[in-house]
Symmetry: C2
Amino acid sequence: MSLVFKALSDPTRRRVLEMLRERPMSAGDLAAAFPVSKPTMSAHFAVLREAGLIASEKQAQSVIYHLQMSVLEEAMLGFAQAFGWQLQPAAKPESSTD
Amino acid sequence: MSLVFKALSDPTRRRVLEMLRERPMSAGDLAAAFPVSKPTMSAHFAVLREAGLIASEKQAQSVIYHLQMSVLEEAMLGFAQAFGWQLQPAAKPESSTD
DNA sequence: TTTGTATTTAGCTAAATATCAAAATAGAGT
DNA sequence: ACTCTATTTTGATATTTAGCTAAATACAAA
């Protein structure tokens, strides 16, 4: 749980999670969306991975990251419970179905 | 929001919040519940205070801390919303009414 | 005003974190 | 076997963090 909150304490990493909520994305595509170097982004991915919040699969040269929604949910549920809140998990977002 | 998650990333600080959910407590009483020095606890209180999660009032020699539930709620609501969850806030816990 | 109790600040160390540029690795394609 | 592209690792530096002891502050009480 500490690892999850630590991971969430950085705005870049929170934004990465939000982006991955829409769809899986490659490390490069994610990195391109932020004003920091690719090695720095790689380190952020590592923090998220170690917290269990994202997972990766290799696809040709690329590394595709995807959100592990269940881990995020469990951490939030666990915490919410300690404060007597109820959290109802969500439907997946529509990937701009226009 | 980053400050809140940063504050929550330490188990001692999370436990402090849980204890303050039951009732306001003095710095000393809180400190006595953890196996670290009082200055260390004071630093934890400062982190929680800067995140807005607790507030203090002076009472004679003591400093009484209390939870700012609304700040915690708002941070959680904000985050939950970004992931499409619903969070319903809670009743205050019974302070062992036996 | 001296003493005692409660809490914080100061000053320190060790470990962790965030960032970068440069080098290394992994795969595909030529 | 090269060469390109994508990503991570390495090595360096700066900052932050968690912890400690000792000193300072705040207030009450004697």
